[in-house]
Amino acid sequence: MTTARADGVAGGKVRGSRGRVTTVLGRHPVGLILAAPYAVYLAVIFAYPFGFAVWMSFHDYFFAAPGAVVDTPFAGLDNYRAVVSDPAVRKSFWNILVFLVINVPLTTALALVLANALNRAVRARMFLRIAFYVPYVTASVAVVGVWMFLFNSGGLVNKVLGPLAPDPSWLVNETLAMPLIAIFVTWKQLGFFILLYLAALQNVPKELYEAASVDGASAWQRFWSVTVPAVRPATALVVILALITGGNLFTEPYLLTGGGGPNGASASPVLVMYQRGLQQGEPDFAAALGVLLVIGVLILSYLSRRFIERD
């Protein structure tokens, strides 16, 4: 009895301490070790800078040399007020809205249609897949150079269009500059999104198409009623990634339209962040702008996911 009680107490202690370990480290502590490198990477590369940016956005802050005695007083919402009241920032958000309205639907629709076609294509399938993927893996700077030659006033596109060429030309036309960038990014990113859809299409059961055919569905009806709903999770991912790409837009307005030109018509929030934060030494302003941009992209991503994934 005594022994049994003693064992019971000892076993309870063991179970108790194990329980606490399990509570803290989970049932498989080795999992934490395996996940740790990525968690550390995430913390150092993403979480720390983001936390720092949030902190900066609430302070009067600038980058100083180590050891320099610099005052960084709490600024409350001053930086956010400055961002919201800045006409260049407001214009950049409008520009990015124009970009997203063109780029996201175009990317999603083209990627899905082309992936569907590629999924069925028998001849030259590999060639076509690579052809669509090449722009994605080519350096933006190089591709931008090609587009500059194509779309400048004496470029190939205007030569083909002849009298129909826009005046002012594409890259210096305030109405056309941002749509052109949206089309450029769509073309450049398309290969990646096609791959996402191709992967999703592999998982659509063939029986669904057979059943639809038996029911007399046309090719369009099979696409609309079987393919589109079946790849809905992939569509949500494509839309969110396209939104994030749009939110991060920098290289194209920086290079293709010469620093957000013409006259700021293609300036993006990230370009303004770069100008204000790095060139003009106002990282606090840039951080506040960055935080607002992150919030904006998160809201849009959440809404699009809710909208696309609803039954």
Partner: protein, 427 residues
Amino acid sequence: MKRFLPALLLPLALAAGCDGQSGGGDASKANAATGEITVWLSNNQEELAWGKAMVDKWNSAHADQKITAQEIPAGKTSEEVIGAAITAGNAPCLIFNTAPAAVPGFQKQGGLVALDDFDGATKYITDRTGATATQYKSPDGKFYQLPWKSNPVMIFYNKDVFAKAGLDPEKPALSTYDEFLTAARKIKSSGAAPAAIYPAPSSEFFQSWFDFYPLFAAETDGKQLVQDGKAQFNSPEGQKVASFWKTLYDEGLAPKEQYTGDSFADQKAAMAIVGPWAISVYGSKVKWGAVPVPTSTGKPADQIKTFSDAKNVAMYSACKNRATAWEVMKFATSQEQDGELLSKTGQMPLRANLQTTYPDYFTKNPAYTQFAAQAARTVEVPNVPNSVAIWQTFRDAYTQSVIFGKQPVNDALSGAGSKVNQLAGGS
């Protein structure tokens, strides 16, 4: 993990808040210290050749105070790389390519050493550069940069294109705005070149140094963009210069579209605004001539001022052996080394009496003589707080009104003037 991440983030965010804002180096100890130093040089081939030779010569005589030289690391601009190096605390002792427009920002960062702290430094700088040195003083009255070399900009023109357009290729009439516009119209209408002149129409803050600013300096007899804390461009002279450029853009004599190469070297433009560095670059590619920038009334050439396009030497606060760094600064800007720089790069040392100091060079290289004369009449960017923000504000107003005609020039300059006044006041 849900509990783990916030717990990890909080100390990180707090640590971020406390990052690098305390402490203070022993400046006087560093100022007296000697030893090895690192310097950064421009990646321009000619300048690099001069820099390496200078370093070799120093190192051969100072085994205990060796210089390690390297090119400024690649980046979007040198100024961004230097700004990042200051923040990281790994800037070199000296950078032989410090842009005067960036100095107020670097100074605010605590990244520069006041040269006045070294014995005889102020005298050395003013003796070497003369009255022009005053333009490089910071608002606190100290020198955070040693005026090194300038590239006074002038109008380069293509003699062949001018001849093709029926203009005098040897003595072209380009001294007034009217003469310049007449020549530009002839070039365009004759088809001699697609553009009369092709300054970059893009929005980068520094682009105004190569269109508006040289003509503004000439028109105002040497006013800076900002003086005594007030914007100077919203004035009758500023409006004249802006209207002149607007005419060039409105009539298609200057394109509004970015050109990816060198429009002058590629013969896409008949004229360009550049400094003497371009002589060796254009070489035999273009048969060129150079004249001073135009003024509304056609001022005599020997009275015309222009933008200096100077680059200076600055000492950075991360430097541990500052006594050596100061000696290297003096060595690299000595009469002998300035002569080497002139002969290797064609750039003008910011030295008083340049032509009389190096008479042999200018006799052998007459093409450079007019740039040497012009070097004595240069205007620098203003050394004021928020310097880059001021230039960006001006550039935005300029592109909006002058290049793209979306706003009347006077309204744009007036609006930018008010903003610049606030920025120059430090707000």
